[in-house]
Symmetry: C2
Subunit: 196 residues, 2 copies
């Protein structure tokens, strides 16, 4: 619950966590700062003492998401140290789990859909994170000894991105249920071309 976040931690952290949760569930423009601070058990003044604007809060939320995603990648390495192919399969499983988790898509993608101003500060953060994620996936594929690593990484990436959109439009029981099959099939197929 959100109440868990409200338990004693610094107001700034509570605001950040609560904002992340509410932005994820209701969208960025669908949540006002008053609602965030109230849910975080604090008030608007305290928010504006820690964040100079709502836009900055948005950016910080996205950065926090990026950090969490980065930790996820690190977990693959600690779980299967050195075994890049196992890490790639772990990524597939993790991605599939995220698809079932809830009916909301990627926070970055959703933010990009909402924040259309080309010079919005969040857009730079979004682009950076997405490119970083792509880089990690490309590296993983390459280190797993797969030929055309970039193409496989991009394909898997688009597939996952599309699946996250799909759960948001037709629900978790739609085409996204086939994600693991698709991804594993692609990996097999690309490993085949590497050997041949």
């Amino acid at each position: 619950m959100a109440d868990g976040v409200v338990e004693r931690s610094r107001p700034r952290d509570r605001i950040l966590e609560t904002a992340r949760d509410m932005f994820h569930k209701h969208g960025i423009k669908g949540v006002g700062v008053d609602a965030i601070t109230e849910a975080a058990g604090t008030n608007k003044m305290t928010l504006y003492r820690h964040f100079e604007s709502k836009d900055e809060l948005i950016v910080e939320c996205l950065r926090a998401n990026a950090a969490k995603a980065g930790a996820m990648w690190d977990a693959f390495e600690t779980e299967f140290p050195g075994d890049k192919l196992a890490q790639l399969h772990a990524w597939v499983r993790k991605a599939a789990a995220m698809l079932k988790a809830d009916g909301r898509g990627c926070d970055m993608a959703n933010a990009a859909a909402e924040l259309t101003e080309p010079d919005h500060p969040a857009r730079l953060v979004i682009k950076e994170l997405k490119e970083a994620q792509r880089e990690r996936l490309v590296t993983l594929c390459r280190d797993a000894g797969i030929g055309q690593a970039e193409l496989l990484a991009d394909t898997l990436s688009l597939l996952f991105e599309g699946a996250r959109v799909s759960v948001q439009t037709v629900g978790t029981e739609g085409p996204s249920t086939q994600f693991v099959r698709m991804a594993e099939g692609l990996i097999v197929s690309f490993r085949g071309t590497a050997a041949g």
Copy 2:
């Protein structure tokens, strides 16, 4: 330009077209009814004489998008009558063209990202259209004699959806540029399994 829409047509049509354009460019919550009516060369009262609320206007815009998408599918049949495989390739080319057209993703997906209320009238329309599109693609794959038509259709569908999200986050020069390669490769691969 939007001015082209303003030229003499019925106010309702101008409002609908202008709203579609502005929702697409700036998002739904990023555009107010005042801005729409002004761009459409009319006024708010006229809008509310034709649409009982902004939500209904949104729904009508999405339905118009659906109709346009349906016309696109029909065009494939008229261009390559009977040749389902050619129509499938036409779909791939058309999809790729849409990726280059602008940096905004699918209006349905964007609307789903913004309108988070589970009982929002638009959500039903979005789901219906997405399922209809999936059905058409599945049928096309099946009629093209491809084994596992559902899986190919879903894969292509997710890939395209992901590519549209990608152009919105990292731009038109990102992984989405490989969409045709990915799609054609998949079609070849699935045709292989059908023959074998």
